[in-house]
């Protein structure tokens, strides 16, 4: 190693030094708990049974994979994420297309459409549970009354679907904003060239607009999915995961196991499995967006 590079290494550390507190803090609040979780996951430990602390190796993991409820909850998580992301992306695309044309009061309409994204998740979930879906005084049943719908209990009949409705309501504006940004960066002359080349509105959308929007939609889907993995508030407020675990997702089920069942060891093992699966899926998804945006940069 030459003298020059040692010097620049020292210089490098001096430049990085102001960032170190933040790095230490991040390690302290994310990596240390994770390592602790891994450690707990190899023990059988129930808080309400004093003296239950015992090293069990990978037994908790075996239990997790044999647990049919865990499998059901994992499936719920997938349905919740995929369903919410796809439906909100479609709705967002539709709204973005409508907002991309000029009309009177467009600014007001745009602001109103964005508000669901700005409302606290817990407050939004409470609104859907009570003001909208309540069997007796909910707006949904009030509106559907003329069609012969009585005091239908939406939340208890379709727990997962009603949670999804709340999440779609919140995530549609996010998708809409991303896609709208994509639409507004669409070069006007390319569309004009398409019109002169004989393309009607549908062909223009399919052949030119949609390929241009692809990377914006991909970005929305991946970011949306990453946020939706952690959904907790909506489930806690609307259904508490019930009935049974019908509307619970992984974070909620782990919470139940750890803080209602006090099965720290099992909950820790579930947490580790969830984190590992999330990392794998997120990496694949992020690679997809980076590829798509890098490719697009060349085109720009």
């Amino acid at each position: 190693m030459t003298k020059h590079s040692t010097l620049s290494r020292a210089e490098g550390w001096r430049r990085r030094a102001p960032l170190l507190p933040a790095l230490l803090f991040t390690i302290l609040v994310t990596q240390v708990p994770f390592l602790l979780t891994v450690y707990y996951s190899t023990h059988s430990w129930n808080l309400v049974r004093p003296g239950s602390w015992e090293f069990v190796g990978l037994q908790n993991y075996l239990y997790v994979f044999r647990d049919s409820q865990f499998r059901e909850v994992a499936m719920n998580t997938v349905i919740l994420i995929v369903g919410t992301v796809l439906i909100s992306a479609l709705l967002g695309l539709g709204l973005a297309l409508l907002l991309n044309r000029s009309f009177r009061g467009r600014g007001v309409v745009r602001t109103l459409l964005i508000t669901p994204f700005l409302i606290t998740p817990v407050a939004g979930a409470l609104l859907w549970k009570t003001a909208m879906f309540d069997p007796v005084f909910g707006i949904v049943n009030f509106v559907l009354q003329p069609f012969g719908v009585g005091n239908f209990a939406w939340v208890s009949q379709f727990p997962l679907a009603t949670v999804m409705v709340d999440l779609i309501w919140r995530w549609t504006p996010f998708m809409m904003l991303l896609i709208l940004a994509g639409l507004q960066s669409m070069p006007e002359d390319v569309l004009e060239a398409g019109r002169v080349d004989g393309a009607g509105p549908i062909a223009l959308f399919r052949e030119l607009t949609l390929p241009h929007l692809r990377r914006f939609i991909e970005l929305g889907v991946v970011l949306g999915a990453i946020y939706l993995v952690n959904t907790f508030g909506a489930i806690y407020m609307m259904t508490s995961g019930g009935p049974g675990v019908e509307s619970a997702n992984l974070p909620f089920y782990i919470y139940q196991r750890a803080f209602l069942g006090f099965e720290v060891g099992q909950a820790a093992a579930m947490g580790v499995v969830t984190v590992a699966a999330t990392i794998v899926i997120a990496m694949l998804a992020l690679r997809l967006i980076f590829k798509s945006f890098m490719g697009a940069q060349e085109a720009a």
């Binding site: 070069p187 002359d189 390319v190 004009e192 060239a193 398409g194 019109r195 002169v196 080349d197 004989g198 393309a199 009607g200 062909a203 052949e207 030119l208 390929p211 241009h212 692809r214 060349e298 085109a299 720009a300």
Partner: protein, 376 residues
Amino acid sequence: MATIAYQTASCLYEGAANPAVDRLTLEVDDGEFIVLVGPSGSGKSTALRMLAGLEDIDEGNITINGKDMVGVPSKDRDIAMVFQNYALYPSMTVAENMGFALKMRGVPAGERRRQVEQAAELLDLSDFLDRKPAKLSGGQRQRVAMGRAIVREPQVFCMDEPLSNLDAKLRVQTRTQIAALQRRLGTTTVYVTHDQVEAMTMGDRVAVLKDGKLQQFAAPTELYDAPVNAFVAGFIGSPAMNLVPALVTSEGVQLGESTLPLERDRLAALHRQELSSVTVGLRPEQLEVVPAGQGIDVRIDLVEELGSESYVHAHLVDDRGGASTRLVARSHRRAPGRLGETIGLRHGAGSVHVFHPDTGARIDGEEMSARVGTGV
């Protein structure tokens, strides 16, 4: 193959005080290459976009082959357009770009490929058919845009400053290629440019626009030799024609100390209009550099050496009032004078152009006006 006619066609942008294109009337013959030229904001691009169906025709109409185009969408007009920034479809390959119009028309894939390959060969693009536009150079993109237009064999080509994004050398080269291609295909072409050299070299006829109004529509040489007004005179030709105010005397017009004689019937026309001063137009090549005292005395401000010739920029020496009168003269000799030196300029070959001092309209004698016609 098509004829085009603009009939008092106007385009009004919302909120604008004056129409972008104001009662434009133009008749384009079948197979003709016409150029719309003018400074920015003259409405030339708008006029073209009205033909392409990208702007509304608010008044009057435009016909292609006698068929009224008001309200007809772009896709049903059978025209091809080359855009200034090419507007290639970024997600498609060169071949897909060129074949897009055929695909929209429902031409089967095999036939499409054959026609695209044919056009690609013509434009030297055969090696790039599978590339995306992002991987092409500016000149190649320009050729793809041309290819996209010619593949479909449209009735009309519309070209909106297609050369303005190329470097100077490539521009000259592509200019001749486009003109040759158009002669070969014989497709009626409307070409928009702000570059008067392109207009002069490419067009069968050139329409000069200003503030949305047609100034003159004529063959390039006629625009050069007999501009209908001071604007056309100043716009066509490089360096621009010298347009200087001058007093009318009994023999001609006075420029500096010397008098440029005018024909009798032109003088008569000036007297009929009771003008005491006019705008005189002299092309740089109509002024010869002579020793001081033998012509109009001027002082040299700048000499531009082009190698084959040089341009002398100078101002009148005896200029008494206000803005000094500037003149540009072409000299075949190198270094006809030095900066600050006083030389003489003499009116050489060719007739002096005379324009009305206020309206800028050309003033001709009776004999001349009969020969040139009225233009607009």
